[in-house]
Structures are given as structure tokens and as C-alpha cells.
Symmetry: C2
DNA sequence: TTCATCAGCGCAAACCTTTGCGGTAACCTT
DNA sequence: AAGGTTACCGCAAAGGTTTGCGCTGATGAA
């Protein structure tokens, strides 16, 4: 291999054999116009020289970069990294790469990520909305130009954009009823911002669960937080200091659940004897904490794979109607919610 | 915006204004050859039409894709996702994107990831070796062609390739001495595969720590595992069933430490009264488990940022001598190791 | 008036690939 | 032997950008 030039081009091969570039190209693509002898000779040299087509040139020509942009609120939360892992697996099978950008839960960063990813000519985007996102104009351009777009978990525009979510309402209902069955009556819920679909849906499930158990809804027991550790800690502390404090809490996601657990312990209360706790989180974390956390486990890896599948459906069939895939969650009962 | 064509090219602008493509290009680059009036007119139109240079074309021309390949053993471990986050931050500042591939701790996948990333014409690679990797021939091509390459954490060829690591020997020494100071005498170490630098270095630190405390090294107390949950569980179980079982264990990384914790509990032993435990892990996980885990915390985010900085040094100064950056760890003492 | 100068712009090559079309032999047919 | 096939290959354009060089018209000087 020549120094300073790590990639061989068709031109290099053509020059070395003494034919034109087009002949080399056709030979490598087994075009019938090229004689067998010539084809073999060219393919042999190409293999020796380790030729691989330049994806930039192909991208220019075919207008297809084989890259997907992925925007997540953050990279370090297991929920997201696991989903990304799922996306990556399907993408790899299809020969696609993913470009990851994190919005850090900021609308501004989400907007600029969309722009930047489009600048790099990704073929489309797979997105989980940031916590701040309430306006969706930055996705208009994609929709208008029919650029593939898929939302997961935190979604919007479900009429126009395919999405994959879990059955949040059902999950929250299951939690509430589980608490009831285990003898808890003052069931609190630490929710997220109102504009997020996951928060709304889980709130509905919570209320529906209460009703189905014949429990009255006490507005004091529904608190909202910004889904950060700090916000959740504060929310938990608030709940625990109520005149009639709750005997059960469920948190809207991992971060909230763990912060709540720490805060309950800090208040010197025992879990689950004095305050039961259930979270929305994943298998691994739930088992490592003490007491082991009862939780709704998301099929995170599957969410990622499904999002990628929807994406490729869109690529292969641009005019198909947007569908929403709803995955089921599982309530895994552990120590934190059973006296 | 026209339907089906989401990106405006120089040609489009040129046609609309009625000048040549080169004039448009120069105007946008403020070339002095173009009159002020024309420059302004072109720039205005470009802004209206939302023109952005096509990175594929630029990539072809400049042979620079502004993309970095990153290969990690997995995506979901907090250690790696946090490092990736650090890399991403620095990359974003420089206007670079990162392409992530995970080796799943497999040499085969690592090799194919290197190949595939090179095919996509990334400008270089930032890599943490897979657990299986003992031969390094797949990096030869990069070194030979002077393609930027940086290793972190699990490294090799440190003479030829810049790298960022933590002071593993010092960290393991600190742990050993910490155990000793707190009254533990049978100190066990669950190591990883021999060929990994991190495993070797920590073993040396362990031995050195024992010696400096005047403790004899008991080979029974040094067990190796493959750093999976299963391997660590088995190793721990083995240690706990020794005739003279250890009263303190330290695990080589997150996975091992948590598996060990679960296994100790499963054996009905109390932490730290009967068996003390220390891990190599991160802040978040250490505090969420019970008892809170004493651990060496890696400056993960900083490792990522430093790796990216080394990478850009390499880009800007290709012939500089490869350096190794050694970051310090911190021993954070929590309940799991203090009687 | 005439030649040199210069501002301002276009041509074309380069990066790499694919592909419709045109071209050139050698062969076959009648 | 002349015209028609056919096998095999090259030209050139397309995709988008930058840039050295050449070209034009006008202005300045002599």
C-alpha cells in the first residue's frame, strides 16, 4: 500500500491494468459486457489491493449515505443506551451506521441536532423528544420533504410520524392495582411534565387504576417534577412531609425511582414497610438496589429494534401510512412493594 | 422548498441568479474576486434557501469526512456510555460526528468494526479493546498509513499509539491498603484476563499493596474471570467456599463488583461485617446499591474528553510523538468496606 | 489612440462512482 | 466481398464543491 494513501480507487486499478475506469467498475459489478477473462483479472487485483467503493462517491451518486441520525435526551441512562444498542443491531444488519446526538433534554440542542444531522445528509432520523420539547416545528421540514422519521417513547405527531411506545396507561394501572392488592391505600405518583405523552398516559393509568380500586383521587398525592434527580428528590421529600404521607409511591422513570429510594431512606423510613416503591426502569438496576425494586420493565432493546424496523419500512416504502407500535411492559414484583 | 428535494446546491443558486457555480462558491467564501454587490446578493439568497455545503462533496474533495469512529466493548455499560458522552462533547465542539460501533467484547466484531469504519472513511478511530483481543494486527493498517488512532482504558502498542488510561496500579494499591487499614487481612481480588493491561496493572497494584502492608500473597485469593456477570458470580462463589474464605474482596470493574455483591448476599453473608467489598465503578451506581459501595471512581467523562483531545492533536499534528495520558482515580469510601 | 492592467467572472479539473450510449474490432451470413 | 451482428470496451455526464487559470471588458496611462 502506498504511503499516505490508504484507499484504492477505481482509477488506481484501471491505471494498473491499463483499461478504463468504467471497465473496472463493470467488472467488479459482474456486468455481462465485460469478458470473463478481464473480469477475473480485475476482480483479482481489486481483492489484492483491498478495494472498497468510496461511500462518499456513492452517496453523491445515489443520494444515499446509509446513515441514520439518532437523537436521545442523553447517552448515559441505561434506558437510552440500551435502545440505541437495539437500533444499532438492526442498522448493522442493513449495512447502515448511526450518528448519535444527545439533546441533553434541551429543546435548543434538539433543534440544532436535527439541523446538524440533516446537514450531514443522514437518510433520516430516529428521535426521542427532549423533556423541554413542546413545539415541534423543527420536524416540519422532515415531514414536508418526506424524510424518514421515527419517534420512540416520547412522541408527537403520531398521525404523521411512525412511532414506538409502550402501553403506558396500562403499566401505570398495573402498578396502582398492585399497590392496592398489597394493602396500600395512599398511593402517590411522581409524574413528569404535562406536555410529555408518557407523563400524560401514565397519569391516566394512575387515575384509572385508583378508580378501578374504588380509591378516591387525592390531588396532594400527584406531584410533578422535571425528571431529574434533584427534582425527584424534592418531590419525594415533599410527599414524605405531607400531614398524611403516602404509604406507596411510584416514580415515572429510572431517575425518579432511584432518587425517591435514596430520599425515603434518608428520611429514615423503611421500604416497603412504611413506604412502598415502584419504578419504571430496567431489569439490571432494579435487582442491584436494596431492597430490590418492583418495577415496570421496558423492553428497551426491543424498542430500539422496533424503531429501526419502522425506519427501514419507511425507507423501503415511503408512502405507507405511519403506524404506532405499542409494546407491552411487564410488572416485575420484588421486595420494594410487598410487605 | 421543492418537494422531493430537500437540499439546495450551488448549482441551484447559480441557476437562480444566473451566474456560474464558481462565482457562487467564491461569493459564499468571501473571495475578493467577487464584487461586493454580487457577494451580498448571493449570500442573501443562500441564506433564504437555507444552503449548506454537501459534506459528501466536501469529503470527496478534501478527503476529510469530519467523522470519528469509536469502538467500545458495549454501549450499555455506564462506563462506556459516559466516556462516549465525553468524546461526543469535544467532537461536537470541533464540528465532528462520531460513528459508534460495539465489539460486544468479541475480537471478530472488533476486526470487522475497524474494517467497516474505515470503509466509511472516518478520519480515524478511538478504541477500547475488546476483552478477547490479544493480537493487534487489525490496527497495523492504521498505524502504517498514519491514520489517527487513540486507545483508552484497555490499550496496546502504547509506543506507537496515543492512549488515555487511569493509574490502575495505584488504584489497586489504594484499595488493598484501605482494606488493611480497616482491619481486613484475607484480601481477595477478582481479576480479568491476563492479556488486558488493566488486569495486569491492577494485579501488580494488588500485590504491591499486600507487600507494603506486610501481608503474604495467597494465590487462592487471586481469581480470574471473564468479567461477565456469570463469570464474576462463579468466581465469587468459589472464593466464598474456600476453607479459609476471604474477609474482603475487590472486583476489577462494575460488572464484577455488582455480581459479587449479589452473590455475597445470596450466600447469606453480611457486607461489610463478614465480607467487605470494593469495586471499580462509577459514582452513580455505587450510591444506589445497598450497602453503598466503596469504589475507585473513574473520571469517565474526562477519559472521553481526553481521548478526543488526543485524537484532534493527532489530526492537527500527525507526526507528534504518541503520548499516554494517565488520569487519576479516587477512592471513595462508603459502607461496604468499613466495619 | 493604443497597450498594459486589473476587476470580475467562467471553464474545467479534481475527488470517485455508475451507466447510457457510442465506437471498434472481429466474426458470421449471404 | 460487402453488409450485419456481436462482443468488448471507452466517453462523458451526473452528483456537489473548490480552485488554478484563462477570458472579457473597462479603465488607466503614455
Amino acid at each position: 500500500m502506498e504511503k499516505g494513501k490508504s484507499h484504492v480507487s477505481l482509477k488506481d486499478l484501471a491505471r494498473e491494468i491499463g483499461v478504463s475506469i468504467s471497465t473496472v467498475s463493470r467488472a467488479l459489478n459482474n456486468h455481462p459486457d465485460i469478458s470473463l477473462a478481464m473480469t477475473l483479472k480485475i476482480q483479482k487485483l481489486a481483492a489484492e489491493r483491498n478495494y472498497t467503493p468510496n461511500p462518499l462517491a456513492m452517496g453523491l451518486l445515489k443520494q444515499a449515505t446509509r446513515m441514520i441520525g439518532v437523537i436521545v435526551p442523553d447517552l448515559v441512562t441505561h434506558f437510552y443506551s440500551s435502545i440505541i444498542s437495539g437500533i444499532e443491531q438492526v442498522a448493522e444488519e442493513k449495512g447502515y451506521y448511526i450518528l448519535i446526538a444527545s439533546s441533553s433534554e434541551s429543546l435548543q440542542k434538539e433543534i440544532s441536532s436535527v439541523e446538524n444531522l440533516l446537514k450531514t445528509r443522514v437518510e433520516g432520523l430516529i428521535v426521542c423528544l427532549s423533556q423541554e420539547t413542546q413545539s415541534y416545528a423543527h420536524f416540519d421540514r422532515l415531514i414536508r420533504n418526506n424524510i424518514p422519521l421515527v419517534f420512540f417513547d416520547r412522541v408527537c405527531r403520531t398521525g404523521e410520524v411512525p412511532s414506538v411506545v409502550v402501553d403506558n396507561m396500562d403499566a401505570a394501572r398495573k402498578i396502582t392495582r398492585h399497590f392496592y392488592k398489597n394493602g396500600f391505600r395512599r398511593i402517590a405518583y411522581i409524574a413528569g411534565p404535562d406536555h410529555l405523552n408518557i407523563s400524560q398516559e401514565r397519569t391516566r393509568g394512575y387515575l384509572s387504576g385508583l378508580e378501578s380500586c374504588g380509591l378516591d383521587f387525592d390531588p396532594e398525592l400527584l406531584v410533578k417534577c422535571n425528571m431529574s434527580s434533584e427534582g425527584a428528590t424534592e418531590a419525594t421529600s415533599h410527599l414524605l412531609q405531607l400531614p398524611k404521607r403516602p404509604d406507596a409511591i411510584f416514580g415515572i422513570n429510572d431517575t425518579v425511582a432511584f432518587a425517591a429510594m435514596k430520599e425515603i431512606k434518608r428520611h429514615g423510613l423503611r421500604i416497603p414497610e412504611e413506604v412502598a416503591l415502584v419504578g419504571f426502569t430496567d431489569e439490571f438496576h432494579s435487582t442491584v438496589v436494596d431492597p430490590a425494586l418492583t418495577s415496570i420493565t421496558h423492553p428497551t432493546f426491543e424498542i430500539g429494534k422496533e424503531a429501526a424496523r419502522l425506519f427501514f419500512n419507511r425507507i423501503e416504502n415511503p408512502d405507507a401510512k405511519p403506524v404506532q407500535v405499542v409494546l407491552n411492559t411487564k410488572l416485575v414484583v420484588r421486595k420494594s412493594s410487598v410487605k
